[in-house]
Symmetry: C2
Subunit: 396 residues, 2 copies
């Protein structure tokens, strides 16, 4: 038995960690920072999950130059420039930034993470000027969470205290950014999780992969994986407290909640919809159909239009290429049966009920393929005029 208690604020709840941000002029309006840091006063184990995009950004290449299982005590993050598609020079720029940092502050294997426009080298003078103004002993999670935002409309931070049966406790906290629905080339998903739990490195690696699969990998990013997507977990072990099941539960919870925040903040999105596909022949088929639903433009626009017609749902499942049969398929919106072999045409009463469900901020679509027992749930949002506006005008 264990208890997960939500705490106020974010990263400052974890012992031994410091964080903050500054504005170096990359974000011209200066209402928030554009360079943030997270550091620990003792070396941390670090686990990470990076984008599957073949063109990995320079910070990811830089990270991978460290030996396997290296320890670190410093993460530098910037917005407005992805340092992606910048070639070997992009990696050398990070070496230069980190060597400048090391003249101001003792750091061990510092790592970097970037988000913003692709194809431009970092403005080195601006970035390194951060080291003159950052207070490395500050604990300002709010500033850090705001500094890493791009088209995000609100900051994303969370912290939990995990109380174990033996009376000990540890903390876990995270900040995250992502402009929601889909925006790989310029609005990468970044997430930094820190903990003082006394967690072994092997557990860190396995649990981070598992939590990523249950959270960020299940939200609609349209196959268009960013060059910069990054999830990092840093553990400084300061608490002398750990339980694998409790930690896994807290890590899954914090990453899932942050993923849902990203969806709720989806560019121009108004609705959060979960797509459960069950009764599929294999897990892979359930996943394929579920992700097809959360990525389908036609489904997304139907959600925006609050159109209860299940035709686009069924057609998308059929188009995903999985084994399915219109005689065994059923579709529910929340608890309302909207399609089955016996109920193909929507009558007025059920159509009215469906409208009521679809007007909610969040609801669930359940598709039972009816062939076997594999299931998968992914999460999507609607596609509005605002999405087109944001993405047509982003760079200018």
């Amino acid at each position: 038995m264990f208890k997960i208690v939500e705490l106020e604020n974010g990263l400052e709840n974890v012992e031994g960690f410091y964080c903050g941000a500054t504005n170096v002029g990359m974000r011209p309006d200066k209402v928030q920072g554009d360079v943030a840091f997270i550091r620990s006063n003792v070396p941390c184990d670090i686990s990470s999950v990076f984008t599957s995009n073949t063109f990995q950004a320079a910070p990811i290449k830089h990270f991978q130059k460290y030996p396997k299982d290296f320890k670190t005590d410093f993460v530098l993050i910037n917005a407005k420039n992805a340092n992606a598609m910048t070639g070997e020079k992009g990696v050398e720029d990070i070496d230069f930034i980190m060597s400048t940092l090391s003249k101001k502050q003792d750091v061990l294997n510092p790592v970097m993470s970037s988000t913003g426009v692709i194809g431009y080298r970092l403005p080195l003078e601006k970035v390194t000027s951060a080291f003159d103004t950052l207070d490395f002993n500050s604990k300002n999670s709010d500033d850090a969470a705001r500094a890493i935002m791009t088209t995000d409309s609100f900051k994303k931070e969370l912290a939990y205290k995990v109380e174990l049966e033996d009376g000990t406790s540890f903390n876990i906290a995270a900040i995250c950014k992502g402009a929601g629905m889909i925006n790989p080339a310029m609005a990468t998903m970044l997430c930094f999780v820190i903990t003082d739990a006394d967690i072994p490195k092997t557990d860190m690696d396995a649990l981070l992969l598992g939590a990523t699969e249950q959270s960020f990998n299940r939200i609609s990013v349209d196959g268009d994986t960013s060059t910069n997507d990054t999830v990092m977990l840093l553990a400084n072990k300061k608490s002398n407290s750990y339980n694998k099941e409790a930690f896994a539960s807290a890590l899954n919870k914090i990453m899932f909640e942050l993923a849902m925040m990203i969806l709720r903040d989806g560019e121009g999105a108004n609705k959060l919809v979960s797509f459960e596909v069950k009764g599929a022949k294999t897990l892979e088929e359930a996943r394929k159909a579920s992700m097809a639903l959360s990525n389908s433009l036609l489904v997304k626009t139907a959600l925006f239009g609050e159109d209860p017609n299940w035709g686009r749902i069924a057609s998308t499942i059929g188009a995903s290429g999985i084994a399915c049969d219109d005689e065994t398929l059923t579709i529910h919106y929340d608890d309302l049966l909207i399609y089955s072999n016996e109920f193909r045409e929507l009558d007025k009463a059920r159509e009215d009920q469906a409208y009521t469900i679809m007007k909610q901020d969040a609801f669930k679509v359940t598709c039972d393929i009816g062939l076997s027992d594999s299931s998968y749930t992914s999460y999507g949002c609607d596609l509005s005029y605002e999405y087109v506006k944001i993405n047509a005008e982003y760079r200018t």
Copy 2:
């Protein structure tokens, strides 16, 4: 040597074929028909390509009940109702419609094709009332082409005369509908090609597959394949003229031009963009990257915003998972080099040139992966506010 001459109008150019349409009240505004027919006064060989969607619509299931290599002389087409996801009843409805037809008109193995909303059975009384008003001896391609439209903003018909070296000639004509970019569940792509060429059935099958791969399979339909997509080729052999190379050329041309019309008529689309991926390791990788580009929401919105940043192009190629390397990649907009290892950052002069190119109604994006020699071209369009509006409001 042969010569392909474009003719005026459409299906009426092909000897022995008749066509027309009527409004039976399924399209309430009555500005155009909703039931169309194409018939031949002698039995035709027929070849077809159908959707890969697992949920094939009732007309496709009905078609497949005929023996392999059956002959037909009649195609009935309706708009406003897809007769999809209607179960066995949907197929029985077609049997009923055709038996009613056969009381009015001698027909051999009549086939049907439908487009419209999914999940509702055809209104049998309305559909069969068409047989009281249709003139089966009319040659009105314009009416037929308009009757099969859904969200199409213009009719799509084409006809060619093919003159051979031996002094003989044959005709080929087609009507087609498709609301462009993506609209599987309700705006299926349908295409009916007729010819009086004396073509063997084996050539028909092979050439139709080839022409489909070069045309409709290369336009952006977003993976969301409709339940009803259909391409049919009917040949009544009346001309006693045929040459395989000439016929292939004319068939490829007519289907490619119709596919481009669909794209130009894309819902809310303003630009037609071709995406050539060359220098890929395999044809499959070239195809994968090219289709990823024409399907990417981020690329589509960047086209709409006329944003010359190549970052979304590069990121989408990387996300497609093909072998690629930012050191060997080059990207051109028309003839303008927009990205290479040596030109990563857009300077003002090239950015201005890129704007000029992107303001055109049509342009070409060429991505040379630089690893080997496989290439593939697909065709897409931009994504505008109008698209969202059309698809959010379609059914109501």
